[in-house]
């Protein structure tokens, strides 16, 4: 039985398990219908031209984990940003682990999707926001919608700021030979609210894991959302990360994606600007080796005047890794005075690595400033020579240059401890200790 059939048949069992009277029931049934018609995307589709899911579909994933596992905090401490105090929402094999987590309802809601979907006090919020910006058409998103039950739910009311950043951690223990996870997150920042979220998916053993995650982010007027995605998983873990962001007037949403590992990572990052003077920032650092594959697929839809978007993706590709960047900017007719910038720079450091990039502009307004730039190249030989002539060994010199290359993406990271952590990760990835912090 292929994965699609398996998912379709397990949907019936899933439905019986959850509350059939829940308001999301119709949404789920609608979504599964769409997935049934569309199936998994194939390379024939333009959006999936460079990423194939064929091999993943051959694996016999179990859709529901059979047993719960208790993990010791010590074992997994390193996956947390433990240097600072944070709220934590931790899932082990897709099941919430209250023992490892720290949630709150004090002024702000940092809790579970399952609670939000079932408890009456959240009914109104769910009605207004759930599945409102996520695509009802894209097959993998609707697959997630159909199975949406668990994930993080973050609600920041007007003028509130949570005391500390929020960490979402998904752990896979490898109890199943192959496990498919479908977390669903909802982040809402009401007017003038502010929130910082760090999300990470981590597999703990060499067993196959496929995560098809959907995150919806809503930023109301003047809200500020910082979202950090840390992707440094094992070579048996695949991640399809769909993020949908709806912004209103003067809001700021910044998403940073750090891709350092995983077998196949696909990031679908979609911004919809539904107001004026919005700032959208999308940044990413990708450093790959082995046979890893990362596909960044971004969309920024400028639908109102006077907005800005800034995209900056850097990639370093070694061994047999492949990197894809597909960035689309749409500027509607009425979105005059839009400033949209996009930058994608890649360095290939091995003979077998491949980079495919497609920066794309679709512009319907005339009074705009839009640009995209994209490069594929190597490290500057003159710079290498300069460093070497000053006694810096070749390896360090190379790492130093790549470090500098990737580093300006980190400038906008607003949690210093996270910045340090990412810096360390980059240094480790490049196989060098630089011995200082940039």
């Amino acid at each position: 039985m292929d994965l699609k059939d398996k998912l379709l048949s397990s949907f019936l069992a899933f439905e019986n398990n959850v509350d059939l009277n829940s308001p999301v029931h119709d949404v789920r049934s609608e979504a599964i219908k769409n997935f049934e018609t569309k199936g998994f995307p194939s390379k024939k589709e333009e959006a999936w031209k460079y990423t194939s899911l064929n091999n993943l579909q051959k694996i016999d994933f179990s859709v529901f984990p059979k047993q719960e596992t208790v993990l010791d905090y010590k074992e997994i401490k390193k996956y947390f940003l433990h240097e600072i105090d944070t709220y934590k929402i931790v899932f082990v094999d897709g099941v919430y682990s209250s023992y490892l987590s720290e949630t709150t309802h004090d002024g702000v809601d940092v809790c579970l999707m399952s609670a939000a979907l079932t408890k009456p006090q959240y009914r109104q919020v769910i009605d207004v926001y759930f599945n409102k910006v996520a695509s009802k058409d894209e097959s993998l998103t609707t697959l997630n919608t159909a199975f949406s039950r668990e994930g993080a739910f973050i609600y920041i009311p007007k003028n509130k700021v949570p005391k500390k950043p929020i960490q979402i951690l998904h752990l896979a223990t490898g109890n199943e030979a192959a496990l498919m996870l479908q977390p669903r997150n909802l982040v809402i920042a009401e007017e003038n609210a502010e929130v910082q979220v760090i999300e990470r998916h981590q597999s703990l053993t060499g067993n196959e894991v496929l995560t098809n995650s959907v995150t919806e982010i809503f930023a109301a007027q003047d809200a500020i959302v910082d979202y950090y995605k840390v992707q440094n998983d094992l070579d048996t873990a695949s991640l399809i990360d769909n993020t949908y962001i709806a912004q209103k007037d003067r809001s700021v949403v910044r998403v940073h994606t750090f891709s350092f590992g995983g077998k196949l990572t696909r990031n679908n990052l979609n911004y919809y600007q539904n107001g004026e003077r919005i700032d959208s920032t999308l940044k990413g650092v990708t450093i790959l080796g082995d046979k890893q594959h990362v596909d960044h697929h971004t969309l920024v839809h400028h639908a109102q005047p006077n907005c800005e978007s800034h995209q900056d993706y850097k990639g370093v590709f070694g061994d047999r890794s492949t990197g894809v960047f597909n960035g689309k900017i749409i500027v509607d007719k009425i979105a005059q005075k839009t400033n949209a910038f996009q930058q994608n720079n890649n360095v290939i450091i091995s003979d077998k690595a491949t980079v495919n990039t497609k920066p794309q502009l679709e512009i319907f307004a005339d009074d705009v400033k839009c640009s995209h730039g994209c490069t594929i190249g190597q490290l500057d030989e003159d710079a290498m020579f300069y460093l070497q002539s000053r006694g810096i060994p070749k390896k360090e010199a190379r790492a130093l240059l790549m470090y500098a290359f990737a580093n300006n993406v980190l400038e906008s990271v607003r949690i210093p401890e996270l910045k340090a952590r990412i810096n360390a990760l980059i240094a480790k990835k490049l196989g060098v200790r630089v011995g200082f912090e940039l």
């Binding site: 333009e46 077998k352 690595a353 920066p359 794309q360 512009i363 839009c370 190249g377």
Partner: protein, 481 residues
């Protein structure tokens, strides 16, 4: 005289296609529709050898299995391929040695177009292979060229007289099954140009063909094959104007360039087919496959100025097969009213130390859509490949659109690829600056557009550059609101 914007707009909207006239020349036209019989009939009509008929039929069979591509960023009513007549040739077709023998009516047509053969012969030094509804009716300067060993004739003549060259190279760069329209063209092409430059010869003049679509309801399927043998050089021009028509005309041409070791081909196009009226009615569908193959140290340079056609779908490409080969693409695409253009290039780097340059300028006005679609591909063996791409778009008014779809695929670590794109409009301050100095708005726009497209215009041969500059002005006058 100072125009107000409103007046300007009005004048432009009412400005009819200047070259919209229709010459009634008795011509022989096949019944509408496409079948194996028609393909065979076309081949027979042209007295082609059997291998050619077979080649056409092979293409036709492949075409039947294919579907029309839909990926381009254009929308149009698909042509009904059974409602087109696939062959039409001016009836009187003996070959002329001098202009006096040419049908006077035909000559009058050319005069209206401003292409006086006489003048061109004397002044421009251009050998013209005029294609009037598919069959070459006049070829000048053939003798001069023959002395150098250069073959410049219609493709049907080449099939007759130089079958070994045609057989060897036709379909070698654009195979029959390359794409839907290339397959269609391979099956039914009626005529086109053939050019062969022998080893080490530098072609002494610019070769040029003027294409015209004349007969109502006949699509034109031109086939051009240019072969530059080792160490040779040729500059080839292609320019087009077409009469105004209500019904959509289909044009699916195939151009193949082959540059052998150390050869250089410069191919320039000015395309000004009927773009449809201001309501977007009518106009030519232009679905063209152009591709060049570069062997060692060879260079192919495409330059194009696209101002006409209702729908354009065109990607002049270079396959950089040999080491140290160079591909260049310079393009200006102007769309106005309801025109749609999806154009760009493909640079496929296969050999070592290959270089490519892409400069694309898109100008959209009215309610038109202008897309750049390009591919830069560096294969794993293409050491030290270098590419520079620049796509700039200029938008006039807020009802048009500019799009870029650049694909960049690198499989080699020594590749250096740069791509930049910008989108902007003509600034009010720029216009104000010109106005202040006594230049009226219309002229100012022409000036700015000219500056914007300078990089590409400079690449055109002299004769064309002047024509192209005029075309830009005509196509864009008053479109700033």
């Amino acid at each position: 005289m100072a125009y107000t914007e409103e007046e300007l707009k009005k004048e432009l909207e009412t400005k009819e296609y200047e070259y919209g006239f229709y010459t009634d020349i008795e011509s022989e036209t096949f019944p509408k529709g496409l079948s194996e019989e028609i393909v065979i009939a076309i081949s027979k009509k042209k007295e082609e050898p059997e291998w050619m008929t077979e080649w056409r039929l092979e293409a036709f069979r492949v075409w039947q299995q294919m579907e029309e591509p839909e990926w381009a960023n254009v929308t149009y009513k698909k042509p009904d391929f059974q409602d087109i007549s696939y062959y039409s040739a001016p009836n009187k077709k003996p070959k002329y040695e001098s202009l006096d023998e040419v049908d006077p009516e035909l000559l009058a047509t050319f005069e209206k177009l401003g292409i006086s053969l006489e003048e061109q012969k004397k002044l421009a030094g251009v050998a013209v292979d005029i294609v009037m509804d598919s069959v070459s009716v006049a070829t000048t300067f053939k003798k001069t060229l023959a002395e150098k060993g250069i073959i410049f004739c219609s493709i049907s003549e080449a099939i007759q007289e130089h079958p070994e060259l045609v057989k060897k190279y036709i379909g070698s760069v654009v195979p029959q099954k390359d794409n839907f329209y290339a397959a269609l063209n391979s099956a039914v092409f009626s005529d086109g140009s053939f050019c062969y430059i022998p080893k080490g010869v530098r072609c002494p003049m610019e070769l040029s063909t003027y294409f015209r679509i004349n007969q109502a309801g006949t699509g034109q399927f031109e086939r051009t094959l240019v072969i530059a043998d080792e160490g040779s050089y040729v500059s080839y021009l292609e320019g087009c104007t077409a009469p105004s028509r209500d019904e959509n005309q289909l044009h699916a041409a195939v151009v193949e360039l082959i540059a052998l070791d150390d050869a250089e081909i410069k191919y320039s196009t000015v395309q000004n087919w009927f773009p449809g009226d201001k309501e977007g009615k009518g106009g030519v569908f232009n679905f063209v496959t152009k591709r060049g193959l570069c062997e060692k140290n060879a260079k192919i340079s495409w330059t194009q100025v696209e101002t006409g056609s209702a729908v354009t779908w065109k990607y002049p490409s270079c396959v950089l097969k040999g080491d140290n080969s160079i591909g260049e693409f310079y393009s200006i695409a102007v769309t106005n009213n309801f025109q749609q253009a999806d154009t760009g290039t493909k640079m496929v780097h296969l050999g070592k130390n290959t270089k490519s340059t892409i400069i694309s300028k898109g100008i959209s006005a009215g309610q038109s859509q202008n897309s750049y679609r390009g591919l830069v591909q560096v294969n794993s063996r293409a050491e030290n490949a270098r590419n520079f791409s620049q796509c700039d778009s200029l938008l006039m008014g807020n009802r048009c659109g500019a799009h870029t779809f650049p694909y960049i695929e690198a499989k080699n670590k020594t590749a250096q690829i740069e791509h930049e794109a910008t989108t902007s409009k003509i600034g009010e301050d720029q216009i104000f600056y010109c106005n202040q100095r006594g230049i009226d708005t219309e002229k100012a726009i022409a000036l700015i557009v000219n500056g914007f497209s300078k990089e590409v215009l400079n690449k055109l041969p002299m004769e064309f550059a002047v024509e192209a500059q005029k075309l830009l002005e005509i196509s864009l006058e008053g479109s700033v609101g």
